[in-house]
């Protein structure tokens, strides 16, 4: 019987022993050597810089590598007591549910209810049981019943991610492998998903890869960190691991939760909590219990973090600012689609940093395209020069065969520098892409693609307005920090920037002003601090306050 497996090994649901993976025609291993275990009922978080092989490691557990994706696997990989490559991925599906980093890899392009039911149909479960599980999964994840008949390809990126998660959870498997499940989700949806994934189920083991750590760590038993060399550089319970290995983790460009950053900062003044904190709430509780002298030290210790959490780009004086683009009574619709936002009045000034916030599918990208003048308004008017857009999928922007040609094409539009190869070289070097000049744009890493997209937008110097659609999604800590600095520099150089993001802390840090999109209209257009302080507005729009907000609140109270 192909579905029958031995009883779970009590010492390890999944084990990697000296595992290496090398893809054909590559000179070095994509990951490893890795030695790692996942125990029955354990919640394990796998961290590591982008491109270090986290997803590859997960692929070995279901036999996807090497049975479907050819590669040489060294060492051993066992799942539920038997060699992982002894079965096909389909053979493992009943026992191991896999959520891929890209929702399109989990979904098959069906209608929403068919997608959620697909794995259960493949298991041959009774129809009634499938109906029940589909309904439960959709309700738990927060999928609207009205979506049932919609094809997943017609949903927004975040909505597709929700459906992919519902499909994964509906399988109710003994092992759950989840790869960046919340990268495109609005804060409230991300928080709900973390809770769902981390709810203990008898005997269910979860291996999760995620960059969004705050709110997740409390439910994690153990963290394993893959270093830049592809092997495990640190492993242990989360709070203690982040305290002990903070410097090494930062050096590797890996995300740490905010609580850990606060802990490290407080330690510099000798006022860190006795036990390493798991959440920001732990830190704030500790801060409130400090005496006056210690509070002063804590304020001093946290000052650099507070400064880094707030906008650094100076705001041009309000009076006399040049308006780069203005929408008046605009009815915004996607290309060849129906109106999603009505009666939008919005202006963006030169040098301004505007945040566009909202739930998944609220119409943020459509507003961005309308601001840039890339889609026709169905009503109202737009005044201003065209804007440039960094799309969610940067690959859509690349039209040539190499990185250098992309830059040269952007410069050629300006009409002077195309014949001067050193100019393209200068641009490439400035964006840290000099070494990749001859590569095809599709061969770059995710972070490099984002940098190239921005480089092509800015190299021509054509657009006074830049619309950046989720520019940090899927990037590691180092890449995010570097890109944030570049975006700040663009604003400082006079570009008006509209930043579409689900990362409320990023919006708090970069944007002086935010618009909140929801219910088919602009719900708010106000200074970022006001938006972030309005809990009712945020809840109505499916958003949540920045993770850093409780610290800022304490800072204000302590100052008073």
């Amino acid at each position: 019987m192909p579905g029958a497996l031995p009883a779970p090994d009590p010492d390890g649901v999944a084990t990697w022993r000296g595992t290496t993976v090398r893809f054909p025609h590559q000179r070095r291993d994509a990951v490893g050597p890795v030695t790692l275990d996942l125990a029955a009922g354990e919640h394990l978080l796998l961290l590591g810089p982008s491109g270090v092989g986290k997803s590859t490691l997960l692929d070995t557990l279901t036999g996807l590598i090497p049975n479907v994706i050819p590669a040489t696997v060294g060492g051993s990989v066992t799942a539920l007591g038997i060699a992982a490559d002894s079965r096909t991925p389909a053979g493992w599906a009943q026992h191991i549910a896999r959520h891929f980093q890209d929702a399109d890899q989990t979904l098959c392009g069906m209608r929403v209810d068919d997608e959620v039911a697909f794995a259960l149909e493949n298991q041959g479960l009774p129809a009634e049981a499938i109906h029940q599980r589909v309904a439960t999964a959709m309700r738990d994840v927060g999928i609207d019943e009205a979506w049932r008949g919609r094809r997943t390809t017609t949903l927004s990126g975040g909505e597709r991610q929700l459906v992919a998660l519902a499909a994964t959870l509906a399988q109710a498997s003994r092992v759950l492998l989840v790869d960046e499940p919340t990268s495109h989700l609005a804060p409230l949806a991300a928080s709900r998903l973390h809770q769902l994934l981390m709810t203990r189920a008898p005997g269910r083991s979860v291996l999760i890869v995620d960059h969004r750590l705050d709110g997740l760590i409390a439910a994690i038993d153990r963290v394993a960190v893959l270093g830049p060399d592809g092997s495990i550089m640190a492993e242990g319970p989360p709070a203690a691991l982040f305290r002990t290995h903070a410097a090494r983790i930062d050096a590797a460009g890996v995300w740490r939760p905010l609580a850990s950053h606060l802990d490290t900062a407080l330690a510099t003044q000798g006022v860190a909590p006795p036990q390493p904190p798991v959440s920001v709430a732990d830190v704030v509780t500790h801060l409130k219990a400090l005496g006056d002298a210690e509070k002063a030290l804590a304020r001093q210790a946290l000052m650099p973090l507070v400064a880094a959490a707030l906008p650094r780009v100076p705001t041009p004086a309000l009076a006399g600012r040049e308006i780069v683009v203005r929408l008046s009574g605009a009815d915004c619709a996607p290309f060849l689609g129906p109106v999603v936002l009505r009666n939008v009045d919005l202006a963006v000034a030169r040098g301004e940093f505007l945040g566009i916030l909202g739930a998944n599918g609220a119409g943020k990208s459509t507003l961005g395209l309308s601001l840039a003048g890339l889609v026709r308004l169905k009503g109202g008017a737009r005044d201003g020069a065209p804007g440039g857009v960094a799309f969610q999928n940067p690959e859509n922007q690349f039209v040539t065969g190499s990185v250098r040609e992309e830059i040269e094409a952007a410069l050629a539009v300006r009409g002077t520098e195309a014949s001067q190869p050193e100019t393209a070289d200068t641009v490439l070097a400035g964006w840290g892409l000099g070494h990749a000049a001859s590569q095809h744009p599709f061969e770059l890493s995710h972070g490099q693609k984002r940098r190239l997209a921005l480089a092509t937008l800015t190299a021509g110097g054509r657009w006074p307005l830049l619309v950046l659609d989720e520019p940090m999604a899927g990037l590691d800590a180092a890449a995010t920090a570097a890109l944030a600095l570049r975006i700040e520099a663009l604003a400082a150089s006079g570009h008006a920037i509209a930043l579409i993001t689900h990362d409320m802390d990023l919006a708090l840090r970069l944007c002086r002003r935010c618009v909140v999109v929801g219910e088919g209209a602009i719900l708010a257009d106000a200074p970022t601090a006001e938006v972030m302080a309005d809990a009712a507005l945020l809840a109505r729009a499916g958003l949540a306050p920045p993770v850093f907000k409780p610290v800022l609140d304490w800072f204000g109270e302590a100052a008073a």
Partner: protein, 258 residues
């Protein structure tokens, strides 16, 4: 009674039909369109298919007319070939000898032209009124099609709308670089320039879909539940009976007018 019948007709939609009887009817009609070499029959086929789309699929009249354009362009090729090289198409000329057009060559060309449109419209009728998921489920449940082949077919059927969606994104990005708005319908040059990126997308999409289905347990063997497969109803019998009766009437008309 007549009021109730008209109510039923008003509420009837072609997408409510079971895909398999509809497929059989369309295939039979396509065979007839190829076999009956008569302009009247082809005209009746075109009018019936167009009317069915407008009345029972609520398709706009202009959309239906627009649908005929590519088939008409294809048919023009037959028309010109027949006129210019009529000596080489003895069978068609012989079959069209009694057709009411100026010359034998023109008659044969006109029938071939109309046949291209008629076959296209019957195909469009099936495609526009059939959900690919329902078709695949019906094929797997009623005709025992292997799930692997069924879902491969499903991916292929869905590729066209997916390519259109991807093309929109690429066209937006290119329009931005060009410094203007994208045209509603891409021109010839733009269309050709989209082919390579769309081919790349299609290959990636196919491999991703294959991996997604494999990772979620799709195999070619074992028991598999099929949820929501279409169920045969009286309306399918009524539809098939009516369609075949119309087909017989059209054939008779063609025979009588020869």
């Amino acid at each position: 009674m007549s009021v109730r019948l008209s109510d039923h007709l008003l509420q009837f939609r072609l997408n409510q039909l079971h895909p398999l009887p509809k497929l059989i009817v369309c295939l039979i009609w396509l065979v007839a369109a190829i076999a009956v070499f008569d302009a009247h029959f082809q005209l009746v086929t075109i009018v019936l298919a167009a009317a069915a789309l407008v009345l029972f699929n609520r398709s706009s009249f202009w959309l239906v007319l627009g649908l005929m354009v590519p088939f008409a362009l294809f048919g023009v090729g037959f028309l010109t070939t027949s006129i210019l090289f009529r000596d080489g198409s003895d069978f068609a000329v012989k079959m069209a000898a009694e057709a009411p057009f100026v010359s034998e060559g023109v008659s044969a060309g006109v029938v071939l032209f109309l046949r291209a449109i008629a076959c296209g419209m019957v195909s469009a009728l099936f495609t526009l009124t059939t959900d690919p998921g329902d078709l695949v489920k019906a094929l797997m449940k009623d005709w025992r099609l292997s799930p692997r082949i069924g879902y491969a077919l499903f991916s292929a059927l869905n590729l066209v709308p997916d390519l259109a969606s991807e093309a929109q994104q690429i066209r937006l990005a290119r329009a931005m670089k060009r410094g203007g708005l994208p045209r509603r319908i891409p021109g010839l040059v733009e269309g050709f320039s989209l082919m390579l990126p769309l081919l790349t997308f299609a290959i990636r999409r196919a491999s991703r879909a294959a991996i997604a289905m494999e990772a979620r347990g799709l195999t070619g063997h074992g028991t598999r539940t099929i949820l929501g497969a279409p169920v045969l109803a009286w309306r399918d019998l009524v539809f098939a009976g009516s369609a075949l009766a119309l087909l017989a009437a059209a054939c008779t008309l063609a025979w009588m007018l020869r």
